[in-house]
């Protein structure tokens, strides 16, 4: 933590939300990646956040951090499309198990979080400037 902890904390929030948005982008961009039979399918990725540990004596928190990016192990979704060159012997094409509805709601959440943290950063900046302006 620097001299201006509120700004640091808002920054950790922005970092995590950015990672979250990046992950959602990746999931959406790869949602239609059909796999050739026998090859690995794209797996949905989910960000897990956790509160950053604080130094002893700091009861006010240190922000947030990415704990892990969990990669799903769910099997792909099989769609019947016998004419597709990627179809297997049964005429089924394997698509990633990405739930677009879930991705979109997560994106709205991540955006709202990003905005809130950006707001805190701006306000903290104004608050610190008010203090720095004090002179005898």
């Amino acid at each position: 933590m620097s001299m201006f902890p509120s700004i640091d904390i808002a920054g950790t929030g922005l970092d995590v939300d950015q990672t979250w948005i990046d992950t959602i982008s990746s999931n959406v961009a790869n949602a239609d990646d059909a796999a050739t039979p026998g090859s690995a399918i794209y797996q949905d990725q989910e960000v897990v956040a956790t509160a950053s540990p604080s130094a002893p004596g700091n009861n006010n928190g240190s922000g947030v951090q990415v704990q892990s990016v969990n990669v799903s192990t769910a099997p792909g979704v099989l769609v019947s499309d016998p004419g597709n060159p990627l179809a297997n012997n049964a005429g089924l094409v394997e698509y990633p198990n990405v739930d677009i509805g879930h991705q979109m709601t997560s994106l709205v959440q991540a955006q709202a979080g990003y905005e809130a943290n950006a707001n805190v950063l701006g306000n903290s900046d104004a608050a610190y400037k008010a203090i720095l302006a004090i002179k005898a």
Binding site: S6, I7, G13, V16, W20, A49, A51, A110, A127
Partner: protein
């Protein structure tokens, strides 16, 4: 009371006010840090929001003497399905309020310093 004593009394008052404002400014900083932490963790599973309380302690210290302190305690709102109890709207409104308090305390400190400065240099 001659002129010099009056100045001394004024200066002692100013120093007392500066000490109180200084404490308030520190406590407000802590509150801002806690709000920033709550907002940054608004999507963290299991996270519980904290609040900083100092007004009661400060009021009591000013009335009865003693040392004021700022304490960080759990906010204690009901948690959502992921065990998180951060209310973004509550945090953002508290943040705006805290910023105004910060500004007003900073302005008061500035006035005290200007007054002291005038008392010293005339």
């Amino acid at each position: 009371m001659d002129g010099l004593n009056q100045t001394e009394v004024l200066m002692a008052d100013a120093v007392q006010s500066i000490n109180i404002l200084n404490f308030a400014l520190d406590a407000i900083q802590q509150r801002q840090q806690t709000i920033a932490n709550n907002i940054s963790n608004q999507d963290t599973s299991g996270f519980q929001a904290n609040v900083v309380d100092f007004e009661n302690s400060l009021a009591s210290a000013m009335q009865n003497g003693g040392t004021a302190s700022a304490t960080t305690v759990p906010e204690g709102l009901a948690s959502g399905t992921n065990g998180n109890n951060v209310s973004e709207s509550a945090e953002l409104s508290l943040e705006s309020q805290t910023n105004l308090e910060n500004q007003s305390v900073a302005n008061s400190l500035q006035s005290e310093f200007s007054m002291l400065s005038t008392a010293i240099t005339g």
